[in-house]
Symmetry: C2
């Protein structure tokens, strides 16, 4: 059996070196290289085909989820294993949605990292305990955040930037009463009484 070739994409030297060390004693795994940004990752993949790509979410030139989508679309046999520190809950889902087969956190032990790599290599999914927990929590908190239509998001953004209904109507080339309806629907969806509360919740959840 050949060694599992692992390629690491992370812009933190410390993390790359750390992963290299954590994996070096595992006879089934081979560290096949690293990249510190999306561009160099893609050029590496043109000439090499690692089995597993350990991909950090926060990269300087592109976010990890986008890169993950690119990779899995262009190289369907590649398996991506997401990587991040804890306080980035929402990223986990985003990464998985874009084709990652698993997710480990940067506080993973040597054993967990090896296990995750082998699981994903075997075609299974792997989610670290904390990552799975975060997903559940994120789902719960997102459940009571309503789904907005494209138009509603536009209107919400314009409201939050201080535009009045007549101004928004002009900018979107619709009637004022239409904008007013969108605004009312936003209030209803968020279950709030007025604009102030609406914007507070939207802002606190990163929607504006």
């Amino acid at each position: 059996m050949n060694k599992i070739r692992v390629f690491v994409v992370d812009d933190h030297h410390m993390v790359i070196e750390g992963i290299r060390v954590l994996l070096q004693d595992d006879p089934d795994i081979e560290f096949s290289g690293h990249a510190s940004h999306a561009a160099s990752c893609m050029s590496f993949l043109e000439k090499n085909s690692p089995d597993i790509i350990l991909l950090d979410f926060s990269l300087p030139d592109k976010n990890g989820a986008e890169l993950c989508a690119e990779i899995t679309q262009k190289y369907p046999t590649a398996r991506v294993l997401g990587l991040s520190t804890f306080n980035q809950q929402s990223y986990i889902r985003s990464m998985l949605d874009h084709g990652a087969m698993g997710y480990v956190l940067k506080n993973a032990t040597r054993q967990e990292l090896s296990l995750a790599i082998k699981q994903v290599y075997s075609g299974n999914r792997y989610l670290s305990f904390e990552a799975a927990k975060m997903l559940r929590e994120a789902n719960q908190s997102k459940d009571h955040l309503p789904a907005l239509t494209r138009r509603e998001k536009e209107v919400l953004a314009l409201i939050s930037s201080g535009k009045t209904n007549p101004e928004i109507a002009g900018q979107l080339s619709v009637s004022v009463t239409t904008v007013d309806t969108h605004r009312k629907n936003l209030l209803a969806k968020f279950n709030v009484r007025n604009t102030a509360e609406l914007i507070k919740i939207a802002a606190q959840n990163g929607l504006v």
Copy 2:
């Protein structure tokens, strides 16, 4: 000349191993141990006295700034060098305020890390370029946040919770027109046109 003894406190195995590797080739530096939480850090320090403590901000049992304060208070000769990933701007100031002599980011190169350690060991301060930049930006953004009076803060909080002027007036036992003036002053101070924009900025700056 003795080697500079460096002790690392970080709850990410990958980072600890990475730092160990990055430092192992520097003949002036010796990796003297590591801890993954505040408690084990303090117990290590009871028996050992490293020259430099590389201290991550986010620890499981305590935040880095608190630990930093404890360390510098109890062991005045110890020099702390803060450590974090980028997106934690505010932490940098907090760490420095609590006695850290410098700050490096986790994307530091081998050279930068060695330099930072040597600078701090020599009694100088060391701030990585990005850390210094972040400090400036943080200062700037706080500078143009207006100072609010007690009453204005109260009114702002009530507005953001969805209360109307009549309700706020009732709650504060003043007339509606008074509340209205406070609200107008808030709009003027923040230089915004209406409540929506006001709450957005307030929320984005953690005021509500």
